[in-house]
Every structure is written in structure tokens, then in C-alpha cells.
Amino acid sequence: MVSATYILDLFIGSFVLGSMYALLAIGMSIIYGILRLINFAHGAMLMVGAYFYIMFLAMGLDPILSLPLSMALGAVLGVAIDFFAYRPLRGGPELSMLITSLGVYIFLENLVRIIATPQPRVFPLPEFLKGVYRYGDFSVRVIEIFTIVSTLILFAALVLFFTKTKVGIAMRATADDLEASVLMGIDANRIIMIAFALASMVAALTGFLWGGMYGQVDPTTGFMPGVKAFIAAVVGGIGSLTGSVLGGYILGYAEIYSVGLLPPEYSGLRDGISFLILIIILLIRPYGLFGREVERV
């Protein structure tokens, strides 16, 4: 018989995993919304962000300083990738950018492999995130609470940014109609730059959370989360931020509960279940839960 504590454990685990998927999916959605680019390199930004954090620690910096620094460096890298890899292709076929993003993923993974070796690295959490709270049978790790709280704070901040600030509203306008936004005096390149900075910064934070949750990172760490975030974004309706968040949590819950409640021999189906959800949702709603039909020009 499954105990209530076990169900609660799964609930927390799902929330944590779903939060990380949602954070990555938001980044993919922001970039897709404006550039119509499915940025496969986004998963690599998670991995690189985690390595940036390890690098700053190795330089002797304080963990509390290393996290924001790794996020800032992630943002800079995201902007640089856009500048060198994607910007020269703007105005060309969308497929070229898509393929380039795959190339960028492979480049980043192998670059890290060369610089940091392919060996997994221990991900050192700061002291204050290491603890575990216990209440009878039930226990929750501080990093889990931190992940949930920081995700919720970030969601709130993003909502405020996109609805209350001029730049945030301009970003939504650009996603809605790029040509019209240029007619409003908006520099599309600047908006795209901000989108990459924002998405990459969030990915770097996700890298920190991911490393903290699983205790180690290696150069391939970003791959599966990237794929899952893509699924989450598509399930939610790519381009829709609300949809991405919802998609992230749907995947997180489906994965953890299916692994937790199915007999152990089926736990290998974990990734398959994500794809099954994707297929079912796309059969019922081809544009995802919150998606709308893309206008064909």
C-alpha cells in the first residue's frame, strides 16, 4: 500500500522537477515567440550555467556571489550566441536557424568537454541549501524548497516585467507582430538581445538548481532537460508563457508519479511517458494547450 507521506514526497518531487522544466520552457517560449526559432541550444545553457557556477567557486568566490555571477555570464553568453550564430541568418529561411541551434548545442557541449573534461563534476551546494527538514516520515530538502520558492518568485517577476514595464510590453508586441513593432520605433535587434539575455539567465539559474538537486553535472547534462523543456513548451502551446509553465508542471508530475506509482520495472519508461503526453496533446490540440494557430504569410 502506498502511504500518504510517499504521495506527498512525490508531490514535492514533481513540483521541483516541473519547476525546472517550466523555467527552461519559458526561455524557449520567449525566444520562439519573437524569432520563431526552436532554440535547441537552450538545454546547453543550463549545463553551461552550472559549470559557470562551479568555475566561480573554483576561483574562490562566495557561493552567494557565484550564483548571480553565473546567471549574468549566462546572459552574456546567450547574447553572444545570438550575435554570432543567429543574427547573420535573420531574414533567411527559418530552417537555417533551427539547424544552427542544433549546431550551437553540439558546439557548447563539446567545448565544455574540452575545457572541463567529460568527467562528471560534483556540484557543491552552498551550506545554507544543504540541509533536510524532517517531520516524522516526511522529509524535504532545503534545495527543493529553494527551487520551488525561487521559481515562484521568478514567475511573479516575469509576469510583472511582461505586463507592467514598457520593454516587457514591447517584447510581447514584437512577438505578436515584428513588422508592426518596428513601425513603433522598436529596435527588433535590441528586443531579441534582451530575449536571449533573459532566457539564458533563467537557464543558468535552472542549471544551478539542477546541479543542486542531483549533486553533479557533466557536459551532457543539458540534453534531456532541453528536450523535456521543448516538449513542455509545445504541450503548453509554444510562444505562450502560461502554457510553458503549465506544460512544465504537467511533464514534471507525469514523470515523477508514473515512476513512483508504477512497478519498478517500468521506471525506464519515464522519458517515454513525456513523449506519450506530447503525442496525445498534439492529437487533441495541435497547437498545444494555450497555443494559437500560426498565421501563414
Binding site: K166, I169, A170, R172, A173, D176, D177, L178, E179, A180, S181, V182, L183, M184, G185, I186, D187, A188
Partner: protein, 236 residues
């Protein structure tokens, strides 16, 4: 004084020549109309002036456009808005998923006195104030056109370019729009309108150019243009 001076303008879409050596002027403070049937090159001309021609795969291949005494052919489109050119595009192109208010905020992206501008456009189109929290995509066609014009005015332009503002709208709504255009002009904004709706253009313009297959075939004050036989035949 000439605000906009287009000289020998050529525009291509790939190998296709859409505008073939058009020349015309817009004097400060006037309402000028560019008339012509579908495919005559009117929209292309406005896109060349606003600079968005490159976004749709077109290119200015010859001639010059000067605005307020400055050659602007090489100025990127978003900078032209800061210089004082605002285009209300064909098909309105409002931001469908944003609210009316958010559309106006984005329209005022370059503006320093957002509140004053809001006040101005709300006065011009009171319905927009009522609907300010509504999603723009849910407005009626006429209201969307009002929003598109209001949004174009948020940057406080010296020159407002209107691409077929009356297209697909009920006569009553067209009247409201043209009254607003006259008011905008009285407030000091120069207006260049592209129209198929000849009657409205004739009664509301100071000067008229008639364009056919990428060339200007006639120009003059409304009365003069109307009396030309070839124009009568062409515009019906």
C-alpha cells in the same frame, strides 16, 4: 516648406520592379493623397518611406527620400520613427493579443510624454478609452482601425502615413476616421494617405497624386485632378 521629398524612387521585390521612378512632395501641414488601384505601388511607396520595405523582402534600388531636409534611404526603420515618421500599415497590424492600452503604450515606445499622448488619442477616439482594458483582437474592424491610427499618433509624428484607412469599413465609420484625420492635421501633423476610396480623399486632401503601375500619372489640387479625363477614366 517641403517635409517629404521623394525623387525618382525605384523599389524592387527581387527581380520585380514595383515602383518605377516615382517623384512627389508633401508640404508641411498638408494632407496629401496618393490614389491608385490595387497593385499600383502605393503600399510599396509607403513601405519605402517608413523603411519597412526590407522586412518584406523589398529593396530601394534607386532614387532618394528626404525627410525634413535629411536623406533617409539608409536610416533603419525604427530610427525613422524617432525622426517623426509614423506609418499606420495596411491591414492595421494592431497587436492582437495585447490590450488597447498596451497597444498605445507600445505606440508611444519612443515618446517621452506618454500621458499627454494618451490624453490626446483618447480625446480623438473616446471609444478607445472605454475599451482600454479590452484585448485588441476583440475590437470591431472600425475600432481596430481607430486603434491603429491612435497607436501611430502616440509617437507624436511630424508625418503620419496612412495606408488605406477606409478599407473594408462601413461608410459611417469612414466618416469618423476622416473627421479624425482632419483634426489630426489641424493639430499640425502632416498626413500622407494612400487610398482607393477616391471620394473621401478628394474632399479631405490639399493635394493629390495619382499613381498607376509604379508611376505618377497625374497630380494637382483635388478639383484639377478630378477634371482630368484620364483620371476620371482610371479612377472611375
Amino acid at each position: 516648406m517641403t517635409l517629404l521629398d521623394v525623387k525618382e524612387l525605384f523599389v524592387n521585390y527581387g527581380p520585380l520592379v514595383a515602383v518605377q521612378g516615382i517623384s512627389f512632395q508633401v508640404r508641411k501641414g498638408q494632407v496629401v493623397s496618393l490614389l491608385g488601384s490595387n497593385g499600383a505601388g502605393k503600399t510599396t511607396t509607403l513601405r519605402a518611406i517608413s523603411g519597412t520595405i526590407t522586412l518584406v523582402g523589398g529593396k530601394v534600388t534607386g532614387g532618394s527620400i528626404s525627410f525634413d531636409g535629411q536623406e533617409i534611404t539608409k536610416v533603419p526603420p525604427h530610427r525613422r520613427v524617432r525622426m517623426g515618421i509614423s506609418l499606420v500599415p495596411e491591414g492595421r497590424k494592431i497587436f492582437h493579443r495585447l490590450t488597447v492600452y498596451e497597444n498605445l503604450v507600445v505606440g508611444g515606445y519612443t515618446s517621452k510624454d506618454l500621458e499627454d499622448r494618451l490624453e490626446f488619442v483618447y480625446q480623438l477616439f473616446p471609444i478607445l478609452k472605454e475599451r482600454r482594458n479590452q484585448i485588441a483582437g476583440s475590437l470591431s474592424g472600425g475600432e481596430q482601425q481607430m486603434l491603429a491610427i491612435a497607436r501611430g499618433l502616440m509617437s507624436n509624428p511630424k508625418l503620419l502615413l496612412l495606408d488605406e484607412p477606409s478599407l473594408g469599413l462601413a461608410p459611417r465609420v469612414v466618416d469618423v476616421l476622416y473627421d479624425a484625420i482632419s483634426k489630426i492635421n489641424e493639430e499640425g501633423t502632416t498626413v500622407l494617405v494612400v487610398e482607393q476610396h477616391v471620394k473621401k480623399a478628394l474632399t479631405h486632401s490639399h493635394y493629390i497624386y495619382v499613381i498607376q503601375t509604379g508611376r505618377i500619372i497625374a497630380s494637382g489640387e483635388p478639383k484639377e485632378v478630378l477634371s482630368m479625363d484620364m483620371v476620371k477614366a482610371y479612377l472611375g
